[in-house]
Symmetry: C2
Subunit: 201 residues, 2 copies
Amino acid sequence: MKIIIVGAGGAVGKPAFDELSRRHEVIAVGRSSGDIQADIEDVESIRAMYAATGQVDAVVSAVGHGHFGPVEGMTGELFMKGINHKLLPQVNLVLEGIAYMRDGGSFTLTSGVLNRDPIRGGASAAAANGALDGFVLGAAVDMPRGIRINSVSPEVLEVSRERYDGFFRGHYHVSNEAVALAYSKAVEGCQTGQVYTVDFG
Amino acid sequence: MKIIIVGAGGAVGKPAFDELSRRHEVIAVGRSSGDIQADIEDVESIRAMYAATGQVDAVVSAVGHGHFGPVEGMTGELFMKGINHKLLPQVNLVLEGIAYMRDGGSFTLTSGVLNRDPIRGGASAAAANGALDGFVLGAAVDMPRGIRINSVSPEVLEVSRERYDGFFRGHYHVSNEAVALAYSKAVEGCQTGQVYTVDFG
């Protein structure tokens, strides 16, 4: 398979890259690294990326960030960061990518744990995650030509323990191997409209 | 209790209004009807509404609409209709309303069935619903002064059968009574961070 992985150099994208590149032709995409540079917050950049790759069998997105802070004092603009930096870019990757997706191919988006196991200050991220999980369920029944779409929703990764020190007390930190399995199932499996949670392992 | 119901004249808001106004002081809010006129897509209009009501014990939102259409050919702009017309206005009602909410009061938002039981063309709405359900879970752990927040996620209402004729084949159509119970539990109950689904009854 020919597979695009956006964010292949990131904490979540790297396990997906390491797993899938063992068996497939993987095109790593990053803002400033990888085989192709693209900023998926810019639709034109997404279009240029697809024009460069041509037809593919799978697209994996492992990017996005949001706003962390309490709801008391949060503005609508701060709330929308999760939508604008995590939800919409990944959705646009799908909307713009359908024309480049081969029959029976797949899209895999990345949400996260906060809309099932919340932490303080995580409401904006929880909304973005819920939207992503809802989108894949809704879009799955719409997809033409047998194209599948799923999301991977991982707990905090072991490799990100220091980065998020103290914010996720009591949360299990999952291994790269566990995360890689979810992306493998999404890309190399047969299901659609699924949210693959990675809470342990 | 003093309760604001935004969209009190709508299909979903009316059952909430009918139920809660029997026992409480309810302020009906609509864009062009009700006790107070407000357009919650405009933050300034939300602020004017709260300035007019003063402190309240509960806010119920039963408004919002989105885009319906297949993902193939959908643009990012069309996708965002669900975010801009259903998600963000309800979130802003919360963010702006915390200062007006009495200790132990509650916010109740309205999502919908499409992020658990999809129909064709419903991906944008499914994303908005998922975001709303995620937001209430995330925001619940952040709320100051014992303030609660929940969502009601109803199936298509019996009263809306003609309006959505053909789009929801096989879906149960729920009664006003069943919908009213969910809003009653959200406002008059004790739980927080819950999605009250109304799939039957």
